[in-house]
Every structure is written in C-alpha cells, then in structure tokens.
Amino acid sequence: MPPARESDEALVGELRRLTGDARQQAIDELFARHYTRVARWCFRLTGDRDAAADLAQDVFLKAHRHFDSFQGQARFSTWLYAIVRNEAFGWRRRAATTPAVDADDALVDVPTPEAGPEDEALADSRRKRLETFLADTLDDRERTVFTLHYASEMSLDAITRLLRLENPSGAKAFIVSAKRKIARAAGRVLAKGERW
C-alpha cells in the first residue's frame, strides 16, 4: 500500500525549508494537486473549455506569484479559492457582452420601499427590511440563486453549472419561483398598508 499522501499544509511547511529547483518542484506538486479542482470550477463558471483553461492558467500564475503571502492561516485550498473567485469575477466582467440581468426583468416591477432622503441610517434600515423580507419569503436555494444572479450578476447558466442544479430549467426555475413569491408577498404587505 503506498504511503498516505501528506496534506497540503504539511507540504507547504516542507517546501518552505527548500530552495531553488527543489522548492519549485514542491510548489509544482502542490499546485498540480488542485488542477482538476480549479479546472472544474472554472469550466462551470465559463461553460467553455478554452476560456476555462485561460482562467485556470491565470489563477495558477497569480497563486505562484503570491505564494509567499500564504501564511497558513487558512487551508491552502481555501487560499487558492480566494484567488479563483477573484480571477473568475474579473474574467466575468471582462467577458460579459450582455448584462446578466435583462432590461425587462420582471423584478423591476415589484414595488420596493419608498425612496426617502439620502440619509444613511434610513437607507440602512430600508436595506435591512428588504433583507429580512427576502429571508422570510424565499428558501435557502432560491435566495442563493437570487443573490448570485442579481447581486453578483452571474448568468443563470453559470449558476446552474456551479451549484450543480439538476432540476429542469436549472437556476431559471429558482429565479421564476423567487420572483413569484416576492411579488405575492410584496403585494400582501402593501395591501395591508404596511411598510416592509
């Protein structure tokens, strides 16, 4: 039976004692352990092999360049994920030719709390009311899909792939359901003359 592979963190500790080519080879081994993981996430974000390979390459270039900043305060994979996420969102901004959210998105027809004077305390209060409203109205999956689409401006196809949604219509079904629930709940609140 082959010996158990040492953990990433143990390998990092070991390579910090190395220099030159030995250190470089240890870094290569560490990174190679995560090629498939990074490739998988990048492909699910981009939906395209070439774009995913470019993005994954950029991730590892950044990781190599900044490897010395990894102090071991988190798992290596977590540190690597922070780079993946950052590079991925940068890629999405550069690659997007059309907005992820349609101009005729039905969400714009759902009433929101009245806009008041630009007082930060009031704006924060309004934000919290909306946040609570969404938490009370949507289930966890709906709220996650809703957030990734409307706040992170991720496409529905990318969300479907990244979250491995296997239902028919994928993320779109959750968005449709979320908007229907929001519209209904908002209507009830307003019909009672209540504030959100």
Binding site: D21, Q24, A32, Y35, T36, R37, A39, R40, W41, F43, R44, R49, A52, A53, D54, A56, Q57, D58, F60, L61, K62, H64, R65, H66, S69, F70, Q71, Q73, A74, R75, S77, T78, Y81, A82, R85, N86, F89, G90, R93, V101, D104, V108, T112, P113, A115, E118, E120, A123, L130, E131, A135, R143, T144, T147, L148, Y150, A151, L162, L163, R164
Partner: protein, 232 residues
C-alpha cells in the same frame, strides 16, 4: 432599462449585497465564531458565497467531467510545454510559471495581464496579494457613465475593507466598510458626478482586529457623459 427600473434593481441588490458584518471569503468554510454563524445564517450574500466555496472545496464530478478533464489536461499541457521551453533556454530557474508569465508559450492567454482597459489616470500596478498594497479594479480614469460599483482585489489576511471617497480637495464624500471586494456606488457618490468633475477614492484593508493590513494608492475618476441623478 429605465432609470426607475435601474433604481429598483439597485435597491434589491443593496438588500443582498455585502455589508461590514459579512464574513471574509477565506473564513466562510472555517470555524466561525457564534456571532459570525448567526450572521451567515441570516445573510444572503454570505450563504451564496459559502455555497460557491463549498462547491470548489467538494469538487464533485458531474456530467461535464469530460470537459473538466479536457481543461485540466490543457492546463497541464501548457505547463509542461513551458517547462520544456524553460529547459531549452539558459535560465536561472526551471520554473514553468516564469515562462508562462513571460508570455513565451501563450501570449494570448496572458493578454489581460498587461491589457489596460481603462485610462491610466491615477491607476496603480500595485500587486494585489503583496502584504501592504491593495490593487483596485475600478472606477479609474474617464468613464462614459456613472460606475455601478467600486471594485478592488482581495488581500490575504484582510477581514474587511474600508472605502473612502473624497473630492479632489480631500473633502469627504462617503465612506463604508465591507467584507466583500466591491461595493455598490451609493446615491451620495452618484449625485456628485457631473461631467468633468473628478472624485478620488482609496481602499484600506483591515484584519479581524481592525488593524491596517494594506492600503491602495489613491484613485481618481470622472464621468464624461450625462449626470446620473438630477440634483434635488
């Protein structure tokens, strides 16, 4: 989209956007304090980020496995090719990463590293993961329209970021803190933006104790198009 529709979408986005209480990405899958757990339980943004992080960590194969393996194979091929090139050239290091970074093998794939998408007024090339510098994404320079968001890159060890927006004479306009690497441009900033008027901003990265981890250079931007909000 109509301005009213955009305003509504902005309100919804602000309800699910990052707040100063949000947990840093690097911590979401770790051991959280009770206060952090309570926050994540209620926060749409943290839950969404955690879902993405979990998918990365678990990395479950799926129906797309053939595509994934093809991408991984391409990545390995590029690195192997860079290593072969490195070995054939006099070099102090056999690092394939240096060869890739030098653009020996795939210049096209690296184009974005040198591609400056925006005018360089105030732009910095500060290295994002260096221990004392925050690199910003935008807004920087002359913009055709108002920016939707302020964005910067993640700093290892930072729990949150403080953004300060000022007029060019240093008069404060707006300040906020967030655990995310971007924040929506608020009305307080948007209403200042008339064509030709510049604003400056910078980012301070803070650790969990509030100590400064890194700081960005001051960035300047202005819009050259119409004003986003009518002055009241």
């Amino acid at each position: 989209m109509s301005p009213d529709g955009q305003e509504k979408l902005t309100q919804w986005r602000q309800a699910i956007d990052a707040t100063p209480d949000c947990v840093a990405i690097e911590r979401l899958l770790g051991d959280l304090t009770p206060a952090e757990e309570a926050h994540v339980d209620h926060c749409a943004r943290c839950q969404a980020e955690r879902a993405l992080a979990l998918e990365f960590e678990q990395s479950v194969p799926g129906a797309d496995e053939a595509d994934v393996q093809a991408v991984a194979a391409e990545l390995q091929r590029r690195i192997a090719a860079a290593r072969t090139t490195a070995m054939s050239r006099p070099s102090r290091s056999l690092s394939p990463w240096l060869q890739l970074a030098a653009g020996v093998v795939f210049a096209a794939g690296l184009a974005y590293l040198v591609w400056d998408r925006e005018p360089t007024i105030g732009k910095t090339d500060s290295d994002v993961y260096r221990s004392n510098t925050v690199s910003v994404v935008g807004p920087v320079g002359d913009l055709a329209g108002p920016p939707a968001r302020f964005e910067w890159t993640l700093v290892s060890g930072a729990a949150r970021y403080r953004i300060d927006v000022r007029e060019v004479d240093s008069t404060p306009v707006w300040s906020a803190t967030t655990a995310d690497v971007s924040v929506a441009a608020p009305p307080a900033v948007l209403q200042m933006l008339v064509p030709g008027k510049a604003l400056v901003w910078d980012i301070t990265a803070l650790d969990a104790n509030g100590a400064v981890v890194a700081h960005s250079a001051e960035q300047r931007f202005r819009i050259t198009g119409g004003s986003p909000l009518k002055r009241k």
